[in-house]
C-alpha cells in the first residue's frame, strides 16, 4: 500500500476493495447450518440409540421373571437376578472402600498439604490416573488382588479394582466441594480455639457434604456401567448362585455383555432389556445427584 501513487488514490483503493458481502454472508449461513447439523447429529444418534434399545427390550423386560430368574442357557428363561445382586454388592463395597479414602485424600490436599513437591506430585499423579484406560485397571486388579493377595476372581477383588478406578474422580469432585467452603468459616472456628480436625470435621465437611455427595454419586455411577475391568478380574455371566464377598460374581454390564455375545437371536432382546434396566439405574443415580446439587446449592 505504501507505494501507491498519490496522484490517483481513489482508483487504486477501488481496485483493492472488494467486500464480497453477499458471498461471505452466504458462507456464514452455510457454516452456521453445518455447526447446527454437527450438534444435531450427536443428539440424533443418542435418541436413535435409546429408541432402538427400548424397541428391542421393553417387552422382554416386562415379562414375568426377568428380575427374579437366574442366568440361563435359554433366552426366554434368562433373568437378571444374580447380576442385579452382584451389582448391588459391588456398589455397597465400592462406597465403603472408595468414599473414606477419596474424601480423606481430598481433605488432605485441600486443608493439610502445604504447596510442596509432594502435594504437587500427588496432584499430577491423580490427573494422570484419570486418563488410564479402564481395562488397565483390570490388569492391575488381576495382578495385585487376584494373584498377589491370592483372592482369586471374586467379588471383593472386583470391588477393590473399581474402587481404584473411581478414586481419582471422587478426589477431584470432593476437592471442588471443599474448596467452595468460605475461608471465613474456618477462621471463625480457629478464632474460637478449635483444633484443625475439629474445624474440618465440624465445619468444613458438613458445609461441603452436598457437593461431595453429588460428586460421589456421579463417580460411582461410572463404575456401575464399567465392564472391561470386571471381565479381566474374572466376572462371569452364567452364575446361578447368590453372590458373596469371596465368591465368583456377575454384574449388570457383565450379564449384558454375556447376552450380547451369544449367537442366538433371542438373546438380543434379553440383552436390550438388561440395557434398559442399567440405563434406568444410571438415570436415577444421576438424577438424584443433580437434585441434591440443586436442592442444597442455596447455601452457596
Amino acid at each position: 500500500m505504501a507505494n501507491l501513487s498519490p496522484a490517483n488514490p481513489s482508483s487504486a483503493s477501488q481496485g483493492n476493495y472488494r467486500p464480497n458481502t453477499k458471498t461471505r454472508e452466504n458462507t456464514g449461513k452455510i457454516f452456521r447450518t453445518a455447526c447446527a447439523i454437527a450438534l444435531g447429529a450427536g443428539l440424533f444418534v443418542l435418541a436413535l440409540l435409546l429408541v432402538d434399545v427400548f424397541q428391542d427390550g421393553f417387552l422382554r423386560m416386562l415379562q414375568p421373571g426377568f428380575f427374579t430368574d437366574n442366568a440361563s442357557r435359554f433366552a426366554e428363561r434368562a433373568g437378571l437376578r444374580t447380576a442385579l445382586l452382584g451389582s448391588i454388592w459391588l456398589l455397597v463395597l465400592l462406597l465403603l472402600i472408595s468414599v473414606p479414602i477419596g474424601v480423606g485424600a481430598a481433605v488432605y490436599l485441600e486443608e493439610y498439604a502445604s504447596k510442596n513437591r509432594l502435594s504437587q506430585f500427588i496432584e499430577i499423579n491423580i490427573a494422570n490416573l484419570a486418563g488410564v484406560p479402564s481395562i488397565v485397571y483390570g490388569l492391575l486388579g488381576l495382578g495385585i488382588f487376584n494373584e498377589l493377595f491370592r483372592l482369586g476372581p471374586v467379588l471383593l477383588s472386583g470391588a477393590l479394582t473399581l474402587s481404584l478406578l473411581v478414586l481419582p474422580l471422587i478426589i477431584v469432585a470432593s476437592r471442588e466441594a471443599i474448596r467452595a467452603v468460605p475461608l471465613s468459616l474456618r477462621q471463625a472456628s480457629y478464632g474460637l480455639g478449635a483444633t484443625k480436625w475439629q474445624t474440618v470435621s465440624n465445619h468444613v465437611l458438613p458445609y461441603a457434604i452436598p457437593g461431595i455427595v453429588t460428586g460421589v454419586i456421579i463417580s460411582v455411577s461410572r463404575a456401575v456401567g464399567e465392564t472391561a475391568p470386571l471381565i479381566v478380574v474374572g466376572a462371569v455371566g452364567y452364575l446361578t448362585a447368590n453372590p458373596g464377598v469371596l465368591r465368583r460374581f456377575s454384574a449388570l454390564p457383565i450379564q449384558i455383555y454375556d447376552w450380547i455375545s451369544r449367537p442366538q437371536a433371542d438373546f438380543t432382546n434379553t440383552a436390550a432389556a438388561g440395557i434398559i434396566v442399567l440405563l434406568v439405574l444410571l438415570f436415577v443415580m444421576n438424577g438424584t445427584a443433580i437434585y441434591i446439587r440443586n436442592r442444597f446449592s442455596t447455601f452457596r
Binding site: R24, T27, G28, F31, C35, A36, I37, A38, L39, G42, L43, L46, L49, D52, V53, D56, V103, G104, A105, Y108, Y112, K115, I122, N128, L129, G131, V132, P133, I135, V136, Y137, G138, L139, L140, L142, G143, I144, E147, L164, L167, I171, L183, S184, Q187, Y190, G191, T195, K196, Q198, S221, G225, E226, T227, I231, G234, P253, I256, I260, A271, L279
Partner: protein, 313 residues
C-alpha cells in the same frame, strides 16, 4: 472466593498462626498422617499399575525377543504356530481410532462452535448437558448399538463383515463427541469478547470471526481435546470387543474384522488364564503397550495445555 480482595496473609493459609497452633497435639498429628495415607493411595495405584504391568512384561520378554514383538507381522500367541508380532493389534486399534476421530473431530468442534458462538446462553445451558449424556452411556451399550443396529444398517449398501472396524469406529466416534466438544467449548468460551469485537469492528462476518479469530485463539484447548479423544479411543474396550471382532490382521480395510489391543486383552482374560501361562503374560505385554501409548498421549495433551495456552485477562 467470597471476599473480593482478601489480604495476602489470609490468602496464604499456611502462614496463619492460629491455624498453626490448631494443628498441634498428638491426635491432630495422627489424623494428618492418616489423611496423608489416603492421598498416597493414588500414588500407590500408579506404582501398582507400573510394577504389575512391567513385572510380567519382563517375564514375557525373557521368552519372546523384542525383535519378534516389534518386527513379526502376525499375532497368534494362543495357536500351535505361535507368533508374537504386536503390529496387527496396534493396526486394529489405530484403524478404529482413526475412524472414530473422523467422526468425533468435525462433530465435536461443530457442536462446540454452535454452542459457543451461535446458541443463546439459555439454549446452550440445555443442549450441553444433553450432548454430555453421550459420555455417560456405558460403553457396553454402544457395543450393542454398533453390533445390532449400525452394522445391519450399513450392510444394506456396503460389503461389511458381521464384525468390522467401520461400525465400531463410527459408534466410538459418537461416544467421543462430548470429550472433544466439551473441552473445546470451554476453550472457545475462554477467548475474550474483546477479540471478537475487534474483528467485527473491522467488518468480519460471524463465520470469519469464529474460524479465523476464535478458533486460532483457542487452538491449544482444541488440540488437547482432540488428543484426549484419541487417548479415549485407544483405551476403549467394549465397543471394540463386541463390534469389531477378534481377527488380528494388518489391514486398512474398514469393512473387515480386526482385533484391537483392548479387545485381545478382554477376549483372553475372559477365558480364565492361569498365572503361569503364555496367555497371562501376553495380557500384560499388550497392556503395557496400551498403557504407554495412552500415557504418551495424555502427556502430550498436558504439555499442550500448559505450554501453548494463550492467557488473557
Amino acid at each position: 472466593m467470597q471476599t473480593p480482595n482478601p489480604p495476602i496473609s489470609i490468602l496464604n493459609k499456611r502462614e496463619s498462626t492460629l491455624e498453626k497452633r490448631a494443628s498441634r497435639g498428638v491426635q491432630e498429628k495422627i489424623i494428618a498422617a492418616l489423611l496423608l495415607c489416603c492421598a498416597l493411595v493414588s500414588v500407590l495405584t500408579t506404582i501398582g499399575i507400573v510394577v504389575t504391568l512391567f513385572e510380567v512384561t519382563v517375564e514375557f520378554f525373557q521368552e519372546v525377543s523384542f525383535a519378534e514383538f516389534f518386527l513379526d507381522t502376525r499375532w497368534t500367541p494362543l495357536f500351535a504356530d505361535q507368533h508374537f508380532g504386536i503390529w496387527p493389534l496396534i493396526n486394529g486399534t489405530l484403524l478404529i481410532a482413526a475412524i472414530a476421530m473422523l467422526v468425533a473431530v468435525p462433530l465435536g468442534l461443530g457442536s462446540a462452535a454452535y454452542l459457543s458462538e451461535y446458541a443463546s446462553f439459555r439454549l446452550a445451558a440445555i443442549l450441553r448437558p444433553a450432548l454430555e449424556l453421550l459420555a455417560g452411556i456405558p460403553t457396553v451399550v454402544y457395543g450393542y448399538f454398533a453390533l445390532t443396529y449400525v452394522t445391519p444398517l450399513l450392510r444394506n449398501f456396503l460389503p461389511l463383515e458381521i464384525f468390522n472396524a467401520l461400525s465400531a469406529g463410527l459408534v466410538m466416534g459418537v461416544m467421543i463427541i462430548p470429550t472433544v466438544g466439551s473441552i473445546s467449548l470451554d476453550a472457545l468460551r475462554a477467548v475474550p469478547l474483546s477479540l471478537r469485537e475487534a474483528a467485527y469492528g473491522l467488518g468480519a462476518t460471524k463465520r470469519e470471526v469464529t474460524t479465523q479469530i476464535v478458533f486460532p485463539a483457542a487452538l491449544s484447548g482444541i488440540a488437547a481435546s482432540i488428543i484426549l479423544g484419541i487417548s479415549r479411543a485407544v483405551g476403549e474396550t467394549m465397543i471394540v470387543v463386541i463390534a469389531a471382532g477378534q481377527q488380528p490382521r494388518l489391514t486398512l480395510n474398514p469393512f473387515e474384522a480386526v482385533a484391537a489391543m483392548t479387545a485381545y486383552i478382554a477376549q483372553v482374560a475372559a477365558g480364565d488364564t492361569p498365572r503361569d501361562s503364555v496367555g497371562y503374560r501376553t495380557l500384560f505385554a499388550v497392556g503395557s503397550t496400551l498403557f504407554l501409548i495412552t500415557l504418551l498421549l495424555n502427556i502430550i495433551s498436558y504439555f499442550i495445555t500448559r505450554r501453548f495456552r494463550e492467557v488473557y485477562d
